[in-house]
């Protein structure tokens, strides 16, 4: 380990000092985070709400996301679609995204246009008009979105069924876009209730990154958001996943050509870990298997054994609730999903039985140091990182620890988390079993003009 450390000290030019984040709080409880990036005369503004699919209960799944769509449908002051029109006329780009743990709205603008964004975001935080007419159309749009993303995509479909199997009572069992049944039965009243409950300054964080002066941004935020009333935010009951007591396996049969494997193990996140180094060790473990072409999956499963054409690992320590370390892969031509799963199990056993090599840890460290610099090339990403951490309840300051904490992970710790968490009892496996695609009906080509 000593060599590992010396290596680090030889890299003076590579560490960019973390640029300062300015934190403010308005009287109504709304938090404001500002970070300066003067490379271009541009500003990104994001409003983050503590609400998302994991706040929903059965029967209303997808309500956070449908509400996000309806947030573009006007207020007392702006007609449907006018928000987007005004931002566009100001040269801006705007959109929104909903996830399990948050709903966020953003604009990217030339820096002098920031007031436009603040005025309209403040307005739709409390003054949204929910019209039945707009809702009827928009919920159809969301169903089309679901068809594109999930119903007609065999891998997404497998992933959705995988989550529904892996989680017994955690809200992470539900898809963010919602079950089709719930979308079919959603009412305007569901949305109105949801909006009233969660959309308030004291449940929001405003993040601004770009070519700005923090105090000016604060005054502007005060001007537009400062007058919004505090509301009482309901207490979110804990819905901790019940202990898993044995492996779970499902098949998903859908029209497809290529089989696909998803495996997951129950793992803690920073919010839930009893030992706070464990998530970082899991993060590095994921990197040992899958970060760059020289990681074990690419080298061994794809190139040497030629069992997979791709194999990847995902783990997010910044989720609000305990989640999964997930492995997914596609078997190579002539190889089966079973062979791929066996090869993955061997990789996991090796993590438990052997300490990872110093060179592998050094690689991760280099990638983390570099990634920290590369991420600063995007103002949007910088804002996003602050917004996520704040909204899942970790506090944005966690971002400053990330590189050092990852670098301090030891080979022993990786072995420990592998032994503790990558165990059969908490494993879920989903396999996509391709069903022959019937292409017979009605196909054809005509050279006649159709109208």
């Amino acid at each position: 380990m000593r060599k590992f450390f010396l290596f680090l000290l030889l890299l003076p030019a590579c560490t960019v000092t973390a640029s300062t984040v300015y934190e403010y709080k308005l009287d109504n409880g709304m938090k404001l985070l500002v970070k300066q990036d003067h490379r271009a005369p541009v500003v990104v503004s994001q409003v983050w709400y503590k609400v998302g699919a994991s706040y929903e209960h059965s029967g209303i799944t997808g309500v956070s996301h449908v509400l996000e769509h309806m947030m573009f449908k006007g207020t007392k002051n702006f007609g449907p679609g006018e928000f987007s029109e005004v931002i566009a006329a100001n040269g801006g780009r705007e959109n929104a995204f909903t996830s399990r743990d948050y709903t966020a709205y953003f604009q990217i603008l030339e820096k002098s246009r920031l007031p436009v964004s603040f005025e309209m975001e403040a307005d739709r935080m409390r003054n949204l008009l929910l019209s039945e007419k707009e809702f009827k159309k928009e919920v159809e749009v969301v169903k089309e979105e679901r068809r594109t993303r999930t119903e007609d995509n065999p891998r997404s479909l497998t992933y959705e069924k995988f989550n529904a199997t892996a989680f017994t009572n955690s809200p992470y069992q539900n898809p963010t876009i919602g079950w089709m049944n719930d979308l079919n039965n959603m009412t305007l009243n569901d949305l109105a209730n949801w909006y009233r409950k969660w959309y308030a300054p004291n449940n929001a964080t405003l993040v601004v990154v770009g070519d700005v002066e923090p105090d000016d941004v604060y005054l502007l935020a005060q001007e537009h958001f400062g007058g919004l009333p505090v509301i009482e935010i309901p207490e979110l009951k804990p819905r901790m996943e019940a202990a898993q007591t044995g492996p779970r396996r499902i098949s998903v049969r859908a029209p497809a050509e290529v089989p696909y494997l998803i495996m997951g193990y129950k793992t803690p996140v920073l919010n839930t870990a009893s030992e706070d180094w464990e998530p970082y060790a899991l993060e590095v473990l994921a990197g040992i298997l899958d970060s760059g072409g020289s990681a074990r999956f690419s080298r061994e499963l794809v190139r040497e054994q030629q069992i997979a054409v791709d194999a990847s690992v995902s783990y997010s320590m910044f989720d609000r609730q305990a989640n999964l370390l997930m492995i997914s892969g596609t078997p190579a031509t002539g190889r089966t999903v079973e062979e791929l799963e066996q090869a993955i199990h061997k990789q996991i056993e090796r993590l438990k039985n052997e300490k990872v090599a110093a060179a592998e840890l050094e690689r991760i460290k280099a990638q983390v140091i570099a990634g920290d610099v590369y991420e600063k090339d995007s103002v949007f990403y910088q804002a996003m990182a602050l917004g996520v951490l704040e909204t899942v309840g970790l506090g944005w300051q966690k971002i400053d620890e990330y590189v050092e904490r990852v670098k301090s992970v030891t080979a022993e710790q990786i072995q420990q988390v592998a032994r503790k968490y990558l165990v059969e009892n908490t494993m879920t496996v989903a396999v996509l079993e391709p069903q022959k695609i019937n292409r017979k009906k009605a196909s054809g080509q005509s050279a006649a003009a159709q109208h």
Binding site: S84, A88, V142, E144
Partner: protein, 455 residues
């Protein structure tokens, strides 16, 4: 309302474009300041390769991109050859095997990526500028560019993974539609060549084919290099010299044929057991450096290129809730790239949605945009200009594109002026000359027999 008062700011900002052109005779060098905020594009030649460079000192990193005129338009009678050659560059090079090559990049946190498009074969590197680390990254990239070995075993493995990717395409209605669209649009033209090839064509490609393709097209006279980052000009010169200097001079690839016009409307319907029908409607569009470029660009922004508020989005989604995504775009290439309109909708609504898209286009061609629409589009495009160049990644993509397509060096500097100059009449005229709504390629992929409303 307060907002309306803020709008005039749009015009204020774009006026602050200071312009000066220095032409330095030595080494055919030009420096082109683009914006008041100090983005200078510098360019020179080395060994037949054009270098495009922007100094961006703020972050300790550098992006380098080498682009060869060696995309799938060069496949000839072996579809997939260009992609496979590009893919194989870092599967063994010089004295290093694949494992050693990827290790070298990963160990210094560098990221190498490759891309094979219709015109371009792209190799990009992102690295920290820390001296030792950058050296490892550049030495490795130079070896990949100059001494790929095209290892026979690695070739077999890559072919196998392409077979899987080809199968994957056949389960995705969007991919199926796109393949059919390009085939119908381009017929015998080189742009028809599917980038991954076909099962049969890929199987027929040999190591010798790759070597010959590489020898012919991965040459200095057929390349450009773009550099953006915290390297000064002296370092940039060294980087360019190291990466492309030792390449064979070779010949610039001959210009491919013009895209022939469509003689008649073609409609292709493909059955697929999906809940939605993917619809693509298109026509040969425009090319880089096209005299109609700005008229078509601003016109398409109104028609379907700007998301919410554009006509197609309004008619299909905002008014009727028929689709999540609906759009139109021009994808200019060396020759005419496609003009394309697309959406996905529930099977039973497909005919209705298709009619709406066609009617929207026909009406737009006849009438052009309204005063209000063109004004708003111009405000969005020009007011958003700084957003186009707000990261090294974006700057790199622009200067590589400008260099590859020989666009004028003042392309970015004049961009807003060119947009402002476009008139409604020009848009109408350009669309009427360029897009014939009676000779479109239409592709529909979905459960075509399914007319019952889905739940």
């Amino acid at each position: 309302m307060k907002l309306k008062k803020l709008l005039p700011l749009v015009t204020l900002v774009i006026v602050v474009i200071a312009v000066a052109v220095f032409v330095i005779q030595k080494d055919r060098e030009e420096i082109m300041p683009v914006q008041g905020y100090g983005l200078n594009i510098e360019t020179w030649q080395i060994n037949g390769t054009r270098v495009m460079y922007v100094y961006a000192p703020e972050l300790p990193m550098v992006d380098v991109r080498v682009v060869f005129d060696a995309g799938s338009a060069r496949d000839g009678d072996k579809p997939g050859l260009a992609t496979l050659t590009n893919l194989m560059l870092n599967r063994g090079a010089g004295k290093w095997n694949t494992n050693q090559l990827v290790e070298r990049f990963d160990s210094v946190g560098a990221e190498l990526s490759k891309q094979s498009l219709r015109d371009m074969a792209v190799i990009s590197l992102r690295s920290l500028t820390e001296k030792e680390w950058l050296k490892v990254a550049l030495d490795t990239m130079a070896t990949i560019l100059q001494e790929p070995v095209f290892d026979a075993n690695e070739l077999e493995r890559e072919k196998n993974s392409i077979y899987v990717a080809l199968k994957n395409q056949q389960e995705d209605p969007g991919d199926i539609a796109s393949l059919a669209f390009y085939k119908a649009l381009y017929g015998d033209h080189p742009y028809a060549s599917p980038d991954l090839g076909t099962r049969e064509s890929v199987a027929s490609i040999t190591r010798e084919d790759l070597q010959a393709f590489y020898k012919k097209y991965y040459v200095a006279n057929n390349a450009i290099i773009a550099i953006v980052g915290a390297v000064d000009k002296k370092q940039a010169r060294q980087i360019a010299r190291q990466l492309v200097g030792p390449l064979e001079g070779g010949d610039k690839a001959p210009l491919i044929n013009e895209v022939p016009p469509l003689n008649e409307a073609v409609t292709i319907r493909k059955q697929h057991p999906s809940s939605q029908t993917t619809i693509l409607v298109g026509h040969p569009g425009n090319y880089r450096g096209d005299p109609d470029y700005f008229a078509l660009y601003v016109g398409n922004h109104v028609l379907g290129g700007s998301g919410f508020g554009s006509r197609i989005m309004k008619e299909v989604r905002e008014k009727r809730g028929l689709a999540y995504s609906s759009y139109s775009y021009f994808s200019p290439m060396r020759r005419k790239g496609p003009f394309l309109m697309g959406l996905q909708t529930r099977n039973d609504q497909a005919d209705e949605a298709l009619k709406i898209v066609r009617d929207t286009l026909t009406m737009f061609i006849q009438q052009g945009p309204t005063d209000d629409e063109i004004k708003h589009s111009k405000m969005n495009i020009t007011g958003g200009f700084p957003l186009k160049l707000d990261s090294n990644k974006d700057i790199l993509a622009y200067i590589a594109m400008i260099g590859f397509y020989d666009l004028p060096l003042d392309y970015l500097k004049n961009f807003n002026d060119n947009v402002e100059r476009v008139t409604i009449e020009q848009i109408r005229d350009a669309f009427q000359r360029r897009i014939d709504p009676n000779k479109m390629v239409t592709v529909m992929v979905g459960d075509l027999g399914d007319k019952t409303p889905a739940k």
